[in-house]
Every structure is written in C-alpha cells, then in structure tokens.
C-alpha cells in the first residue's frame, strides 16, 4: 500500500471502481425492490362502481392505511402468536440437540465420527417442502407406517395434525431439518479450541463432563449466539412447512403464519398493497427481534469479559 503514493486520478478512484459492481447490484436487487415495496405499501387500489371495463381501477395514495389495517388484523396477530408458540418448541429443542450432538462428536473416544456427522447433517440438504411432504405422509393415520405399528400394538393413535400436537408435528419437521446445520456450526467452533486449553484442563483433573460444561460451552458461546440468531429469523419466516401440510388437514388455515398471510393477500386476493405493508411489518419485527437479541448477547459478553 505504501508504494501507491502517486496521487494519480486512476489510483484514487480505484476503490470506487472496485466498489461499483457491488453498489450497483445492491441498488438494483436490494435497495430498489425494498423501496418499491415501501411505495406499494403506501398505496391502494380504488375501484369505482361495478369495476368492469377500462379505467374502473385506480391506484391511489393510502398513507398508513394499509399498516393500520395490518396491525389491527386479528389474523396477522394470531398468526404471529402461533409462530411464537412454534418457535418456543423449535429453537430450544433444535439448538439443544445440536449442542449435545456437537459435544458428543467432539468427545475423545468416538467412532464413525464423520459418518455420524454426515448422517445428522443430511436432512438439512433436503428442501423444506419435500421434508414437509415426507413427514406429512407419516402424520396421516391412514397411510403412516407408525400408525400401523401403533394400531398393531393396540396403543393410542394421536391425531398429529390437530390442536396442540400440530405444533409438535410442525416443530418436528424444523428440528429434523435444522439440527444438522446448527450442529456443524457449533462443532466447527469446538474444533477450533486450542489443544492447550484441554491439556490444562486435564492437568487440573477436569472430567470430560466438566470440560464440556466449563470450557467447551463457554468457548463456543459466540456460535451459540449465531445459531440462535439464525433460528429466530427462520422461525419468524416459517412458510413452506405449514403451507405443505395445509392441504392434508383442516387445522392449518391459509393464514397460519404471518408469511402465509402475506402470500395469501398478494397471490390469493391479488392485493399486493396490503401484502407489501404486512411484509414490511414482518421485516421490521424480525430486524428488531434479531438485532435486539444480538445486542443483548454482545453486552452480556462484554460484561463477562470485564469481570
């Protein structure tokens, strides 16, 4: 860098030239669509009379009308509550399992590590819609082998696609698909802990369990925070699993999750303006929740570091 002290125009503008593709792409494929969505969310369609024939439909300014409608829409709020319930099951179970699996794989005497790692990770490679369809078949009493076995054993056969069990059924799909990914993230950071730390621990007479609880978990805390962060976002945006299960049961409505409501408004009702407003609200909530969490986690880390 120090050689480039010639104050030529070319060199000074070089960073901008390098930045240009990124900036253009950012503007075209990120800023512009978001701006357009915001613009849409502030407008609405006004029909006059019977609405037949040319010129019967006009796009007019709606102000915050669409936002007010969305925020007072009980369906959107109910959907948000359903998703919170779903997340309350998915996130702890999935991250708990991921952490346990990662610690087990990282333990000293394990065989078939790479095979096991791959086996746990594999469901992540299966697209969400396919996974949901696959599980949907297993949940339907008339076609599921599980129910066949339960029936033969004379055990009770719960309806997994209704009421409370529906949340378990949906969460199960997410846990099955997501545990492997989170495990890999945690496992990778476990592998990067220097060997001296373990040596010191062993010299101090720490048992493997103590090593796991006192050394490994605190040292992979940043990855735990990261996986938690990803999981919150994924949960708030849950769409494909309930959408895929919807045709199989009377219990999942077309507006089960907030994102399904957005989809329904945009492509079912053809009301892109309301959909844009709802999408904006979901984006803001997601941002606030996830960054709020990151901040809280960071400040705790700093406090601990200061101690």
């Amino acid at each position: 860098m120090s050689i480039a002290r010639r104050r030529s125009y070319g060199v000074r503008s070089a960073p901008y030239a390098f930045l240009l593709p990124a900036v253009i792409l950012f503007a075209l494929f990120f800023a512009l669509p978001i701006g357009y969505a915001l613009w849409l969310s502030l407008h609405k369609v006004k029909v006059s009379g019977l609405g037949l024939g040319a010129g019967a439909r006009k796009e007019v300014w709606a102000g915050i009308g669409n936002y007010a409608d969305a925020l007072t829409d009980s369906e959107l709020l109910d959907g948000a509550l359903r998703v919170v319930g779903y997340g309350a099951i998915v996130i702890p179970v999935m991250l708990g399992l991921a952490l346990v699996f990662a610690l087990m794989l990282d333990a000293d005497k394990v065989r078939l590590t790479s095979f096991t790692r791959l086996a746990i990770f594999l469901p992540y490679a299966i697209p969400g819609a396919v996974a949901a369809l696959l599980w949907g078949f297993l949940y339907l009493p008339d076609v599921s082998p599980f129910y066949f076995v339960l029936d033969k054993l004379g055990m009770p056969q719960p309806d997994l696609l209704d009421g409370g069990p529906l949340y378990l059924a949906l969460s199960n799909i997410a846990v099955w698909g997501g545990t492997g990914f989170n495990m890999i993230v945690i496992y990778t950071s476990l592998r990067s802990i220097p060997a001296e730390v373990y040596e010191a621990a062993t010299l101090d007479g720490a048992t493997p369990l103590q090593t796991a609880l006192r050394i490994k978990i605190p040292m992979v805390a940043p990855s735990l925070v990261l996986t938690f962060f990803f999981s919150i976002i994924a949960t708030l945006q849950v769409f494909s699993e309930p959408t895929t299960l919807k045709p199989l049961t009377n219990s999942v409505s077309t507006t089960w999750s907030p994102l399904m409501k957005v989809y329904q408004d945009a492509f079912g009702k053809g009301d892109i303006h309301s959909a844009a407003a709802e999408a904006t609200i979901i984006a803001i909530v997601t941002l606030v929740l996830s960054f709020g969490f990151l901040r809280a986690a960071n400040s705790r880390n700093k406090q601990e570091a200061a101690r």
């Binding site: 390098f18 593709p21 990124a22 792409l25 494929f29 369609v45 006004k46 029909v47 006059s48 009379g49 019977l50 609405g51 037949l52 024939g53 040319a54 010129g55 019967a56 439909r57 078949f137 339907l140 009493p141 008339d142 076609v143 209704d162 045709p247 199989l248 049961t249 009377n250 219990s251 409505s253 077309t254 507006t255 329904q264 945009a266 492509f267 079912g268 009702k269 053809g270 009301d271």
Partner: protein, 438 residues
C-alpha cells in the same frame, strides 16, 4: 484472506449480471407487433398436450392465415390469474390466456380481457346458454370462448352399494338416509366426505340449489353467498358432519386416495372429469364405479351445478386481437381441434356438438362397465344451472376454505361459517371501493 473474498464478490457479480442479461433476453422475444403479414401469438394455458392441439392450427388454418400460436405451459387456476394480472400491469400479458369461468369477472375488472364479441359472436350457437352467459358477464360484450365444462354428477361404488343393499339416492334427503344406512351396516365406512379444500365443489352444490352469489343492481354488486339456497346446502352438509354420518377430512390427500381405493369411502359427489381423478387416486377400483345424476332437492327437479371448466380469452395487451380471437373460436368449436383437445388434454368440451362425438363415443376406460357414460353426461350437462360470478371470487373461495375447514374440524355450525364467508366477501368488495348493495 481478503483477496479470496473480493474474488468471490466479483464472481458473484458476474454471475448475477449474466443471469440478468439472460432474463432480459428471454423477456424481449415475446413482442410481436406485426399488424399485417405473418402474426405470432403467445398462449398461456395449463391444459396438458395443448402444444399438440396448437400444432394442428399452425399446420392447418393457421398456416393459411399466417397466424402462428406458441403455447407457454402454466400452472393452473388462481396462480395463473395472478400471473396474468401481474403481466398485464406491465402491459406484457400474452395474447391468449386460459381462464376458469369464475376468474373472468376478476380479469375483466382489471381490464385485462378484450371484448371479442365482433369476432366470436357467431360461436354462441355452439354452446349451451348457461355456459355462454358466463363469458358475457350479463353484458353485450364477450370476454372469452368456453372451452371445457364440469357438470356435476354422483359417483358411487356399484358393487359396494349392492353389497350393503343401498339405493342410488335421487334426492338429497335420500342421500342423507343412504349415508346413515351405510353407517349402520358398516360403521367404519363412509358414504363420502365433506371436504373444505376445494371451494369449487361447494360453489357447484350451491349453484344447483339455485344460489346466485354475485348479482348486480345498477352500479352495485349484491353478494348472496349467505342466501336461503346456499344456507340450505351448508346446513345439510353441516348436519351430516355433526352426526358423523360422513367423514370430515379433506380430499386429494394420500389418506383420501387410500379411502377411495380400499372402499372406505364408497361415493363421491364430483363432476364429469372424475374418471381421470379416480384412475390415479383409486386404481384398484377400475370398473367398479358407476355414475348417476346428482341428487335433487325435490323429486320434480332436474338440475345440476358445475365444478371446474375454463375458457380461452384474448387480453387487452394483445397487438393482434382479431387474429387471437379467430384462434380461440377455432380451438373451441372446430371438430378436429375439439377431438384433439379431448384426446391430448382429457377435457370435456363445452361445445354441445362435440360432447357425443370422437373421444366421447366410448365410455372412459375406468368406467368401461357403464356403456352410456357420455350419453348420460351430455344429458346431465344440459341441466346445468346458471352461475353468477363476481369480481372477488378468490376472496370468497379462500374464506370458504378457512371457515369451513375449522367448522368441519370442530363439527360446529356451518351456518356461522357461511356468514363468515359472506362477510369477508362483502368487506373485501367495500375495501376495494366497489359499489355494494346491502
């Protein structure tokens, strides 16, 4: 390793730019503004095998008139409506589109469909009045040419009806008795199910009962979803579900297929296209089904509803509307075209003259035991009640799915669900600014 990072960014940038260029290239070849000389038209349709039917045109009448049609295969129903409307916003809708009858008012109210009465007015004589009326929306304009129809019928397992000593119901009261009689003889079996996942079935049943869901008075729409006729239908099915005389699980699921295939459900209220569905859903029951007219609300009546069916329409964005209209008329009235449509696409033609010719002389293979299948079907098609669609059928349909799914799950009041459907539909019309008569 900052170098790697930058390299990756550049690589991504190049990839995205290339992608964008390819997309742009795809978009621009649709334009054909040739008003004289050879004309090329784009046609969005979901009918399987349509490309082969269109080949007949391109090699025959299309070649003479220098009109070439290109088929672009699409997803069916509501998804395509959304896509057409989106394309129309950009003034890029294709010349020709396939549209279900109930979607026509939505498309017309978005000014997406052209009035082609001048070009296809003569075709009127080829269709039953109730069918044609759906493409005019009660005006002097003609917005589409009918393609296929779905008159509703009653399908039942002939062998099992005999085994359980059941009679084919002629009225809905007999239908309910049949369901109860079956429950008594075989408690683990169901006559049929009430499914909340296809609104078209319920709309057809209401249409049979005489419901008119959307009508106009002056410059206002009147929504009659919660009218006496529909209420009668909703209460009838709600009571059957409540007393467990029939099942309440949705159709088109693996479980439903199995129930039909194993004879757990022994009847299905459906439409003329049912043989195709049964062939894939219940392959083991081939030759065991029979078709009868839909049960009636009173012995003296002879009327049916329709479930499904679609039309060919010309868009306002088309630069060659009259050429497109010519093709639409040929496709749905020409004997050769209709025969090919039946063979390749498996559709039941709207044109009355074609309902007993070509592919419809012999019964569908799945119903080989019923020799007069299509003669009966044509008779039933004649009794189709008029339908009345409005500009927000999609909203009513979605509301039906949610309200009736939860009502049939909880075995609660179907009347309340119907009220929800009515209220949602009216609220949406008002929100959009339509004139609504109370």
């Amino acid at each position: 390793m900052p170098n790697t990072k930058q390299w990756r960014l550049v690589a991504t940038a190049v990839a995205v730019t290339l992608g964008a260029t390819t997309l742009a290239a795809c978009g621009s070849d649709d334009d054909s503004d040739a008003r004289s000389g050879p004309v090329s038209l784009t046609y969005w349709t979901w009918t399987p095998g349509m490309d082969k039917v269109v080949d007949l045109w391109n090699k025959g009448p299309g070649k003479e008139q220098q009109i070439t049609v290109t088929v672009k295969k699409q997803a069916s129903g509501d998804t395509l409506v959304t896509k057409i409307l989106t394309a129309h916003k950009a003034k890029k809708a294709p010349d020709l589109v396939q549209a279900e009858y109930q979607a026509l008012p939505t498309l017309v109210s978005n000014d997406a469909l052209a009035d082609i009465s001048g070009e296809v007015g003569d075709a009127k004589k080829d269709f039953a009045e109730g069918v044609w009326q759906q493409t005019t929306l009660g005006t002097d304009a003609v917005y589409a040419v009918p393609q296929d129809i779905g008159p509703m019928m009653f399908y039942y397992r002939e062998d099992l009806f005999k085994q359980y000593g059941l009679k084919v119901p002629a009225t809905w009261a007999e239908f309910a008795d049949t369901a109860r009689a079956l429950k008594e003889k075989a408690p683990d079996k169901d006559l049929t199910t009430f499914s909340a996942n296809d609104s078209g079935l319920f709309a057809g049943l209401a249409q049979q009962a005489g419901a008119k869901w959307w009508t106009t008075s002056g410059e206002k729409w009147k929504v009659g979803i919660d009218d006496a006729a529909t209420r009668k239908v909703a209460t009838f099915w709600g009571d059957l579900v409540k007393e467990d005389a029939i099942d309440n699980q949705p159709m088109y699921t693996p479980a439903w297929n199995k129930a039909l295939n194993t004879g757990k459900q022994i009847a299905w209220v459906s439409a003329v296209w049912a043989p195709g569905t049964l062939t894939t859903a219940a392959p083991d029951t081939k030759g065991k089904w029979a078709m009868a007219p839909l049960p009636q609300w009173s012995v003296s009546e002879d009327v049916t509803g329709s479930w499904g069916g679609s039309s060919t329409a010309v868009t306002t964005d088309s630069g060659n509307k009259s050429a497109a209209a010519k093709f639409a008329a040929w496709l749905n009235t020409d004997r050769a075209a209709l025969a090919a449509l039946a063979k390749e696409g498996g559709i039941y033609p709207a044109a009355t003259g074609a309902q007993l010719s070509g592919a419809f002389v012999k019964s569908p293979e799945f119903f080989s035991n019923q020799a007069d299948f299509y003669t009966q079907a044509a008779e039933i098609a004649k009794t189709t009640a008029p339908s009345a669609w409005g500009p927000n059928v999609n909203v009513a349909y979605t509301s039906f799915k949610d309200a009736f799914a939860s009502a049939s799950k909880n075995k609660s009041d179907f009347g309340a669900a119907l009220k929800t459907m009515q209220d949602d539909t009216v609220a949406d019309l008002k929100k959009q600014g339509f004139g609504v008569a109370e």
